[in-house]
């Protein structure tokens, strides 16, 4: 039991932190809706002008950038989710020789930052004639995402009672069917959380896109935004509108999957 005072303090602290987290976001959204021309200072309110968003969309060519980002993010999420589920299943529930060593090898992908591998990666992809293609963005990000995803799904599969898998085996289900019919329905919160996280990281990736693609048609949204910022430094409202456009897909996806996301993040923390 918590006392009333403790409860008030908890709410006050949570409120303060929420405010701290929301202020910059609210500031950008409000700025994006202010009178065009960049006159308004950050966060100042002088009416609602949704036209800024349309102007930024057209001037900044965000339609193409978002399409590029969507292609890359969808491909990365699809590849990483499929492989992570399969690898996590194997590492979490199957016994095979060398599984520990192999799992730690997978984890390397989590530990090495993009900055550390970007230069050799560039040369490798150039040798394979993959630079300036979507593959140059999809393959490296799928690789690092699989490292995280495998770690994430293995942790989930290890929480599943072993007897459930054994019951399915005795009932006549193959490994594949056990995964598909018995485990995946249970794994939905964990899988959807992984999808949101991988989508968000892929969507926001900047360095890789900067180094690997020069063709404007392949530019992703964060890279496009950066070029847009360079061209419109004086117009704060337009910059904010660009930022809002680029951030919106992640927010929308999160809003859709929010319920599962929270459940996925706390699963295993409390015994159900």
């Amino acid at each position: 039991m918590t006392s009333r005072r403790e409860q008030t303090l908890t709410y006050a602290l949570l409120g303060a932190f929420s405010l701290l987290a929301l202020m910059p976001i609210a500031g950008i959204v409000l700025t994006a809706l202010q009178e065009p021309g960049g006159g308004a200072s950050f966060g100042e309110i002088n009416g609602v002008h949704p036209g800024n968003l349309r102007r930024a969309w057209e001037d900044g060519n965000f339609g193409d950038y978002l399409a590029s980002s969507a292609i890359v993010a969808a491909a990365v999420v699809a590849i990483a989710t499929t492989v992570s589920i399969l690898a996590g299943y194997a590492f979490g529930l199957m016994r095979f020789r060398g599984s520990q060593v192999l799992f730690y090898a997978f984890l390397l992908g989590l530990m090495i930052p993009t900055e550390a591998m970007i230069v050799p990666l560039y040369y490798d992809l150039r040798d394979l004639a993959l630079t300036d293609t979507y593959w140059a963005l999809i393959l490296p990000q799928a690789g690092t995402s699989i490292a995280f995803g495998t770690f994430w799904m293995r942790a989930f599969f290890r929480t599943v009672p072993r007897s459930l898998v054994e019951a399915a085996r005795i009932d006549g289900a193959s490994s594949w069917l056990t995964l598909w019919r018995v485990l995946l329905p249970l794994a939905r919160p964990a899988v959807l959380t992984m999808v949101v996280l991988i989508f968000m990281w892929t969507w926001n990736e900047f360095l890789l896109a900067l180094v690997m693609v020069t063709d404007e048609g392949l530019r992703t949204a964060p890279l496009g935004l950066s070029f847009f910022l360079g061209r419109n430094q004086a117009d704060l409202t337009l910059l904010a509108a660009g930022a809002v456009i680029v951030a919106t897909p992640v927010v929308v996806l999160y809003a859709f999957l929010q319920r599962h996301f929270i459940r996925g993040m706390v699963s295993g923390a409390v015994k159900g």
Partner: protein, 360 residues
């Protein structure tokens, strides 16, 4: 239905041997209980039979078939797990039908078998519910139903009652026994609870530290334990033991130990040093007119367990604690002095190695 045979089955995990050369035959349609304390290897033996653990050495046969390398799904067995292992996202109906669908049985037959099992186990009102919406007893019945619908050669049950409360456990115990007698499916049932073993099994196999101590009917195990371990494990309250010197005398055998001096008729051929085992019903409050009793022995009452219809009284005699059985309630209180006698026919004798020795 089929007989099951373990021949020299061993299971080793690294340097630890979980099961030492198990030899056990389970008859067609028999209800065999594997009982033993934690770490006795009973669950490992069951899991090897299910195909969930590989066998290090030996052979397991189900019917005419050696199943050592056979996958669990091809062994034609069904298993009830301690935690029920119901598929949480499926309805009760789908849980029951899952195994049948995997075997590509025709839909109308699946439906018929599921509904028949549901009727037998009184699960009809819950067929559309998911396991999360069931009580412990209902979930347990679904787990049993899943084994029942499959109509396999062997039912395997791994401590299926241990998550139920005492009342439900007694009720479900009867239900499983009834079901098994009705279907006559060969059943291997693992438990650490000797009451379950005694009340359910046609025969009981007692395991200890990976070795088989004795196999027999509940009566055989209770009346003629092969060693002190079985004597102490089977029966509640447990058999009490004391070490005594045995010597011929007074036309029978004289048993002496600290605070104990008994002239037991017969009991010839005992070694000089024996361990005497006494079950509670082999000790009664002293009555000079009771010709069956030998004694008296006297000691201080250590505890009184009054169960209503009967009472067990723990009495410290020297360094030994014996349990005395009495009908009805007792007015005894701890600390009191009690005189009691033993029934010679109820005494069991064990040699220095703990094995039973026959007394003439």
């Amino acid at each position: 239905m089929a007989a099951v045979r373990f021949s020299g089955v061993r299971k080793r995990y690294g340097d630890t041997v979980a099961v030492h050369g198990l030899d056990l035959e389970i008859g067609d349609g028999e209800f065999m209980v594997l009982v033993g304390p934690s770490g006795s290897g009973k669950s490992t033996a069951l899991r090897m039979l299910a195909g969930l653990e590989a066998i290090t050495e030996g052979e397991i046969r189900i019917g005419d078939r050696t199943v050592n390398g056979v996958a669990p799904r091809e062994r034609d067995i069904a298993m009830v797990f301690q935690d029920y292992a119901l598929y949480p996202q499926m309805t009760v109906y789908d849980n029951l039908a899952f195994g049948l669908r995997r075997r590509r049985i025709a839909k109308p037959e699946i439906d018929e078998r599921v509904r028949r099992a549901a009727a037998v186990l009184r699960l009809e009102p819950y067929l559309r519910r998911k396991p999360g919406q069931l009580s412990g007893g209902q979930a347990q019945r679904v787990a049993l139903g899943r084994a029942l619908v499959r109509d396999p050669q062997v039912w395997l049950m791994d401590e299926p009652l241990s998550n139920l409360d005492a009342k439900l456990r007694t009720q479900t115990r009867g239900e499983i026994k009834r079901l098994q007698q009705q279907e006559r499916t060969t059943t291997v049932y693992v438990t650490h609870d000797q009451v379950e073993a005694m009340t359910m099994g046609d025969r009981i196999a007692v395991l200890n530290e990976g070795a088989l101590e004795q196999v027999g009917t509940p009566e055989e195990l209770y009346e003629r334990p092969a060693n002190t371990f079985v004597g102490g494990f089977i029966g509640s309250p447990a058999m009490a033991f004391f070490a005594a010197a045995a010597a011929p005398g007074d036309g029978g055998t004289r048993l002496t130990a600290a605070g104990i001096d008994l002239a037991v008729p017969g009991a010839a051929g005992l070694p000089r040093e024996v361990t005497v085992g006494v079950r509670p019903e082999g000790a009664r409050v002293w009555d000079p007119d009771d010709r069956e009793l030998v004694g008296p022995l006297a000691g201080e009452v250590a505890f009184v367990e009054a169960l209503g219809r009967e009472t067990f009284v723990g009495v410290d005699v020297g360094e030994v604690r014996l349990v005395v059985h009495g009908e009805g309630r007792s007015r005894l209180v701890p600390g009191e002095r009690l005189e009691f006698g033993l029934l010679p026919r109820a005494l069991r004798f064990f040699g220095a190695d703990g094995r039973a020795v026959a007394a003439g």
